[in-house]
Symmetry: D2
C-alpha cells in the first residue's frame, strides 16, 4: 500500500480520500466519509482524531457492525477466504500465519469461546502483542461482561486504526504509536564501551517456539547501529537478550578462567509498554555484570 502525504489527502477529492482510508477501520469506509468533511487537517494526529470522533459519535448498532467487520485471529478459513491486506499484514507480523498445531488449537479455542460468549469476534491490536501476550489478554478478558468487551473492542480497534494511519499517511504531528528497545554494553573492566559484541534478541514463548527477532553487533559506542526494535510498537511479551562477552574478552587477551566464567550472558525481561522507550544495558567484566531498566 503506497504511502500518502497529508497534503495529498487534504487536497484530493472526497471519493479519493475515502478510497485511501476505507480500511483504516476494517471494511468501514463510512468513517473516512464522516472525517472527510473536517478537511483540511493540520496534522496526522488531527486526521486520526476526526476518524476516531466519527466512531465515538456513531450509534451502538454501527459500532457493533464495526466490531463484527473484523476477522477472527488466526482463522484459517477466513484467511483462505481473504482478509483485508491490512489484517493480513498485521496477523503475519505476530506470526499468526505460521502457527504450530498446538498454537493453532490454542487460538481456535480462544476465538470460539469468546465468540460463543459475546457473539462478536475477539479483537486485539496484534502489532502491540506477541502470541503469548494475546493468549494472556484473552484469558483476562473472557470473564468480562459484554458491555466491557464492546468498549474494549472499540478501544483495540482504535489502536489498530492508529497504526494503520501511521503506516499510510506522512505528515506533521505524527501519532505516538512507536516504541523502542535498545541496549548498550559497557566494559567496566577497561572503562570503555564494548565494541564488537554479538547481540541476539529472542522472543520467548510458553506455547510454541522461541524465535530470534534481531541480531546485531555493538559499534564503537557499545550500542547497536539501530534499535533492536524501533519504528513500531514493541510487542508486549517476554524476551531474552544475549551478549557474547566471552569472545570479546578473549580477543582482548583479558586473563580469564578456562572455560571462561562468563561466555554468553542472557538477560530475560518483559515488555509491558509497547509505546515506551526501553533501554536494557549491560555493564560487564569477565567476572561480573549488571543490568537495569533504563530509558
Amino acid at each position: 500500500m503506497p504511502e500518502k502525504t497529508l497534503a495529498e489527502l487534504n487536497n484530493c477529492s472526497k471519493a479519493d480520500f475515502v478510497a485511501a482510508l476505507a480500511n483504516i477501520f476494517e471494511y468501514s469506509p463510512w468513517i473516512a466519509e464522516k472525517a472527510a468533511d473536517a478537511r483540511p487537517f493540520s496534522g496526522v494526529a488531527q486526521l486520526f482524531a476526526a476518524m476516531k470522533a466519527a466512531v465515538d459519535g456513531a450509534g451502538e448498532e454501527l459500532r457493533l457492525a464495526l466490531i463484527k467487520a473484523h476477522p477472527d485471529l488466526a482463522n484459517k478459513t477466513q484467511r483462505d477466504a481473504g482478509l483485508t491486506a491490512e489484517s493480513n499484514a498485521e496477523q503475519n507480523s505476530v506470526g499468526l500465519d505460521r502457527l504450530s498445531d498446538a498454537e493453532y488449537e490454542a487460538f481456535e479455542r480462544v476465538n470460539n469461546a469468546y465468540r460463543e460468549k459475546f457473539g462478536i469476534p475477539y479483537i486485539v491490536c496484534v502489532r502491540r502483542h506477541t502470541k503469548d501476550s494475546i493468549l494472556r489478554d484473552f484469558a483476562r478478558r473472557l470473564p468480562n461482561d459484554k458491555t466491557t468487551e464492546v468498549a474494549t473492542s472499540i478501544a483495540e480497534i482504535g489502536k489498530i486504526a492508529a497504526l494503520r494511519v501511521d503506516l499510510l499517511v506522512q505528515g506533521e504531528h505524527p501519532l505516538k504509536v512507536h516504541g523502542r528497545l535498545s541496549t548498550h554494553v559497557l566494559d567496566t573492566h577497561s572503562g570503555r564501551p564494548a565494541a564488537g559484541i554479538a547481540v541476539e534478541l529472542v522472543e520467548l514463548s510458553n506455547l510454541g517456539l522461541s524465535r530470534v527477532i534481531a541480531r546485531a553487533v555493538t559499534n564503537s559506542d557499545g550500542r547497536t547501529d539501530v534499535p533492536l526494535i524501533g519504528g513500531r510498537p514493541v510487542p508486549i511479551g517476554r524476551y531474552e537478550l544475549t551478549f557474547s562477552v566471552g569472545p570479546y574478552f578473549a580477543e582482548r587477551n583479558v586473563p580469564m578462567s578456562d572455560p571462561p566464567f562468563l561466555d554468553v550472558i542472557p538477560l530475560r525481561f518483559s515488555v509491558s509498554d509497547p509505546e515506551g522507550h526501553l533501554h536494557v544495558p549491560l555493564l560487564v567484566t569477565p567476572w561480573s555484570y549488571g543490568t537495569y531498566r533504563g530509558s
Copy 2:
C-alpha cells in the same frame, strides 16, 4: 562400600588393609600393598601420599598396566561385563549410564580414536567433569604425544584415587578434594536478604539435554540451607542458575509493570576449578540486578 576409619586401617592386618584399598587404584592391589608398610598414618592425606608414592616409584611397565586396568568411558559392553563398583558409581555420577544415542556415539568416537592413537584407554577423573567438559578434554588431549598422555593418565588416576580415598576413609587431615557452589540473594529494593526465592541449578549441555541438578528456596538469610553443590568436586562445565524473583516481589506488593520487567532471572556461568569455592550471588530489585564471582 562401608566407610573405614583411619584408625581401623592403621591397626588391621596387612591383608585386611590391602583388601579395603584394593580398588582405590583400579584393579591394582599392589599399590595398597606397598603403602601398607608405611603404617601408621597420621592422617588421610598421609595415607594417600604413600599410595601415590608407590605409583610414582613404580616402573614404566607397571604404570602402563595400571592405566590399562581402567575401563573405557561409557562403554556398554564393558558395563555389561562389569566395572568395579567405584568405576560404576563414578561413571553414573556424571550420567554416563543414561546417555542419549547422540551422546553415546560421541563418547564411542572419543574412546575409539584415543585408543587407536595411543593404545590405552582414555582416562579422566569423571567426578570433576560434566559430559560436555569430558568431550572438550578429549578434544584437547587427542593431539598430544603418547608420553604426555601417559603422564596425564597417571595424573587423572591420582585424582580418581584421591576421591575414592576421600569417600572410603574417615580421619584427620582429609584430602582437599571438595569444592562448593553457593548463592545468596540480596533484595536491594528493600535492603535485606531475599527469603523465599525459588532457585534452580541446571547443568547445561551442548550435546544432550540440560538437566536440573539442584532446587532450593532461599532462607531468611537469602542463602540456601545447604550449598547448591558441596561435599564433592564441582564438575567443570556450564551452568544456569535461575531465580524466581517475580513472585517474590509480587508477594510483597512491590509496584511492578504488568507483566513484571523481571520474572525468572537466569545467570549463566562456567565452573573451571572443581575444588574451589564459587559463590554466585544475586543483587536484585524489580528493575535491576547484578551478579559477580564471589568467594
Copy 3:
C-alpha cells in the same frame, strides 16, 4: 571494674551481690537487692530480667528517683564533682569528655532546656549513639510531654543497665546488646577478593570534627581481620568508609588513566540499628564500583 562470672554472683553473699551490681542502675543498689532474692539465675539474660522487673515493679516515686540519680550529659561541674565509674566511661566512649567549645555549648543548651521543661535530667544510652545522634534525639524528645519522657528515660536506663551488665557479668545466655559493622572488598576486575586495601572508618559530625575510629587493611579474603566495629553497639550516626583502591590496582599493573579515575573511594552511610549486623561491601574495578547494605 573486674568482671564477675554468673556463678560467682549466684553463690556469693547477698551483700556481695548487691555491692557488685549496685551501679548497674546508677546509684540505685535497691534494684540489685530486689533481684538478689531471685537467685540462682540460669543466665545473664535472666539476671538482667530480674533487675528490670524490679524497676518495672517499683512505684512512680522510686522510678523518678532513679531517673534523677543520673548525671547531666557532658556537664563539666558534675564531671569535676565525680560521676560513677560507669557513667564516666560511657560519656568518654562517645567523646563527651573532649568536646569542642561549640559542642559543649550545644550540649549545655540541650541539658538546660530539657531540665527546665521536665525537671529531670536528659538521659540517653550514650554507648548506642554519636554526639550528632544525641543532639538529634534531644531535638525529637523535647516536644514530648512529661509522661512520655519518664517512660523514655526508664527505657534508656534499661539499655544503659543492659550494657553495664554485659560488661560486668560473664555467663550463659548473654544479652543481645552487640552490633557489628563489617566490610568486604571484591575486585571484579580480576574476579577475586581484593587483598591489601587500606580502609578507614570515619565518624562524621555536623557540629564538631569528624574523627577516624578504625583503620584496617583487607586480608586475602578481602575482609578485615576483625569487624570495623564489634563487641559493642554500633553507635547511631553518620559514617564514611574510605578504600584506597588506586594503589591497589597500580601495584597490580592494571592499566589506568593518569591520574587514576578512582583513587580513594568514600562510602557515606548511616547506622540506625546499634544491635544489628551491618555489612557494607565494595565491588570495584578501576572504572566502576558499587555497594549495598548487606547482612
Copy 4:
C-alpha cells in the same frame, strides 16, 4: 574580546587580521602575520593549523622568544604590571587570582625553581588544569632537560593558542578543544530516571580549599539540563560529585531506616582527559548504589 567570524578574518585587511590575532600567541603578532598570507581559510581548524605551522617553522631563537613572552603563573608583580587580557582570564579561570597564602607560596616556589633551572618561565595550558594538577605537572617536568622542556613549552603554547582561537573565531571546522562532564541518576528502586535530585560538583584540592564549581537538579530524564562542565576543557584534577538521594526517596515515601542508610552520596573521581566526554552516572536505591565511567 568580541568574537570574529572566520569570514570577517578571511576578508579583512592584513593589518586587521594581525591585530585581531596578535595575542593568540602571547605578544607574538609575527605568527598571525605569517598565517595571513595563507588566507582564505576553509575553517577554524585550517586557520589554527597555519598559525601552528608558522611556529613550527620558526628558528630556535624565535621559539625561545615566544616562550619568554609568557608570564609566570600566579606572579603578583607581573599581574600588577599587567598581563595580556587572555593570560589574565586564563589564570583567573583556574583561580590563580585568589590563591591562599600557602598556595601562593607553592606556586612561587614552582616558578622560581623552574626559571632557575631552565631560564624560561614555566608554561602550561591552565584551562586544561586545576591548581593541584598544575603543581603535579610541575613536579613531573622539573627533572627534565632543557630540550625536552622547550618542546613541552611549545606544545603547551599550542594548546593555549588553540583555546584562544576557539574563543575568538566562529566558523566551520571548529577546533576539538572542548570536553564534557555529565551525570545521570537512575532510581533502580522504582525503575525510572530520578528527577529532582540535588547534585553538586566540587573540585577537590590537596593544598588549598575545595570549591563547589557546579550545582544542579536532575530533570525528568534524571539528567542535568546542561552538562556539569561543557563548552570548554574539563580540567585535569580530582572531583567529588554529591547526590542528595535521602530527600528524594523521603519525598516519595519510600520506607527507609532512621536516619536513612544513604543520604548524600559522594562519588570521588579524577579527570585525565580534558577533551574527552566523561559520564559519571549513579544507579541508586535507598540501600545500594553503583557508578561507572560512562561515555
